[in-house]
């Protein structure tokens, strides 16, 4: 029983991280209508930026190092848009997707060039988790759940209460119409990148706090985030959250039954199954 509870808790935890990634991804998808393959690299660079400021020679404490790390990640996100995606606003999806794939490859290897392929940690002392109902919970894990909740609240407030959020949703619905209606689409797109990068940075740092830093850390988890998005409905923030948690559960409970070698296949399996059950999208390719 403990065993099941622990799995469920771990599923929730993984789900929270997937959800943060998925939300960032879906924001961009909503506004610009393409899948940003390079989001995983934003996640990874976010985590590495924090490492940069926490290690010598700077050696800043975490709360302070967080600020420049966040700024740099946002800068990276914005320059990604400026140099890779902006020249391609009018291009078709295939072009955008290949660009994003190339960008992801570029940034992943960039990190490897800088920091090497080996694993790194923030160098905190490891602690035993607390036992609650016989399941072990660490401080970091509580931080992950709390941060996710805060992020969701902030995203919700920004999207539904602020003006920029409203224009973002308008752009999401229809870019051309929004432009005609006098919404500053450029500003909106920039804002979407800022939000997406911040979520990536926070998610990446949480992931690295809970585990380790490695140049491939973004890609692996991003693929799960994709599955979460498809599960929850493309372009839908809440769907992304729910999808992330479902995938987290499914993975953690699934390996109890099937071989752990197929752990990563679970997310895809769910995705494919779901796509098969969904009503066919017949002629939507031109929207």
């Amino acid at each position: 029983m403990t065993f099941l509870l622990q799995s469920i808790f771990n599923g929730l935890l993984a789900g929270c991280i997937y959800a943060l990634f998925a939300m960032g991804l879906t924001l961009i998808y909503g506004v610009l209508n393409f899948v940003n393959f390079a989001h995983g690299e934003l996640i990874m660079w976010g985590a590495y930026f924090l490492y940069l400021f926490m290690e010598s020679p700077l050696g800043l404490p975490l709360p302070i190092a967080l600020i420049p790390a966040l700024c740099l990640t946002i800068l990276l996100g914005l320059s990604m848009d400026r140099f890779a995606f902006k020249p391609l606003r009018q291009a078709n999806r295939l072009t955008l997707l290949i660009t994003a794939l190339g960008l992801s490859f570029f940034l992943r290897n960039g990190a490897q060039l800088f920091w090497g392929a080996e694993l790194r940690t923030y160098g905190f002392e490891i602690k035993r988790g607390w036992k609650i109902f016989n399941i072990s919970i660490t401080t970091n894990q509580i931080a992950i759940i709390l941060t996710t909740l805060v992020c969701i609240a902030v995203v919700y407030l920004l999207l539904h209460r602020s003006r920029i959020g409203k224009s973002m949703r308008a752009v999401s619905d229809n870019l051309e119409l929004a432009r005609v209606a006098g919404i500053n689409t450029r500003r909106t797109i920039r804002f979407a990148w800022i939000m997406s990068s911040s979520l990536a940075c926070i998610g990446g740092i949480l992931l690295a706090l809970d585990t380790n830093l490695q140049p491939g850390m973004g890609m692996i988890n991003l693929v799960k985030a994709f599955a979460a998005i498809l599960l929850g409905g493309v372009g839908n923030i809440w769907g992304a959250l729910l999808g992330g948690i479902v995938i987290g559960f499914a993975e953690n409970l699934g390996v109890l039954i099937i071989s752990t070698g197929y752990k990563d296949a679970i997310a895809f399996g769910i995705m494919v199954l779901l796509l098969l059950l969904k009503p066919p999208i017949l002629y939507g390719s031109q929207d």
Binding site: A14, A117, L119, E125, I126, R128, T211, I220
Partner: protein, 371 residues
Amino acid sequence: MKKIFYVLFTLLGVSLILAPVAKAQDTYKIGAAIALSGSIAVYGEGFKKAIDLATEEINGKGGAKGKKIEILYEDNKSTPKDCVTAVRKLITVDKVPVIIGPAASSNFMAAAPVAQESKVVMLSAQGAAPALTKAGEYIFRVFPSDVLQGKGISDLCLQLKYMEVPIMYVNNDWGLGLKNVFVENFKKAGGKVTDEIPYDEKKTDYRTELIRATKGNPKAVVNLTYIVEGSVMFKQAYEMGINTQWICGSAAKAPKLVELAGKAVEGIIGTYPVFSQETKDYQAFRSLWMKKYGDAKIPIFGEYNYDMVHLIARAIDQGGYTSDGIRKALFEVAKGYRGVTGDKTFDQDRGVGSEYGVWTVKDGQIIDYKK
């Protein structure tokens, strides 16, 4: 269209010109197709240090057969495909008669047929798969095969009276091969393997696998892990409050593991091919290392690579700088040769034997395990 073909041909030409102009042979060149980038580059860097150390030492003493030796490194990018290309390049362009082969068994086995086909000697200092040298008579290993280690782990479990254990292993050639030998031996000796849990390399989260492995609170868990995966796993096990005796293989016996995982690896034990660190040779090796690199952090398998280069140099010295000469001389020079890693006499499968010891982590130091 035309322009493009023009560009292509220029490119072809340039690459041809870039092909090395045959220089006067003032050194004996030895190829080394090791992982300098890619997934196992962490190991490759260490190997290179050890190889360089040995080369320097040999050349300092006048080299082999009157000439200095030179190592030509070729990056195998940790993938079988590039191993083949790297070895092929060393053979056809640099025309080396002897190659230090790729590290991981799967990579080595991809490249071995190429060397065998071209009749070039290839050696491995860390491939552990039993079938490693099957490609032919030109393929050697100076590292003991898994058959021995798998039995060693099984014996250790029995000795410590862990009759029912689950086994976790990193899902690659090394992990799977070792697991198979272990399971076979363990079952034969009356033990029971309760669960088999393969896991992927390079993951950041292994909690799911850990939960499954510790289902039913086993007293001990066999975990055939690498450094990186091990550090993540043991940390997470520690955080989750898992109390069990971890039993590892040789690949985890590294200062780096302790550095990464800290007190989480306290008390884990494992087997490793043992050689005495008290011998004069080993002390000399260690002091050389300290002199060159400024620390005593000898990387995993570093000693084997060091010994291998010495063996090659001796073989060149005796058999001459041809692949057949080296191949024949290797048997003779290795017979009774005691490098830093003990007896290197080749058996009929061109492999070496070894004894197995048990290591453990105590107070952040890797030491020999004593009951």
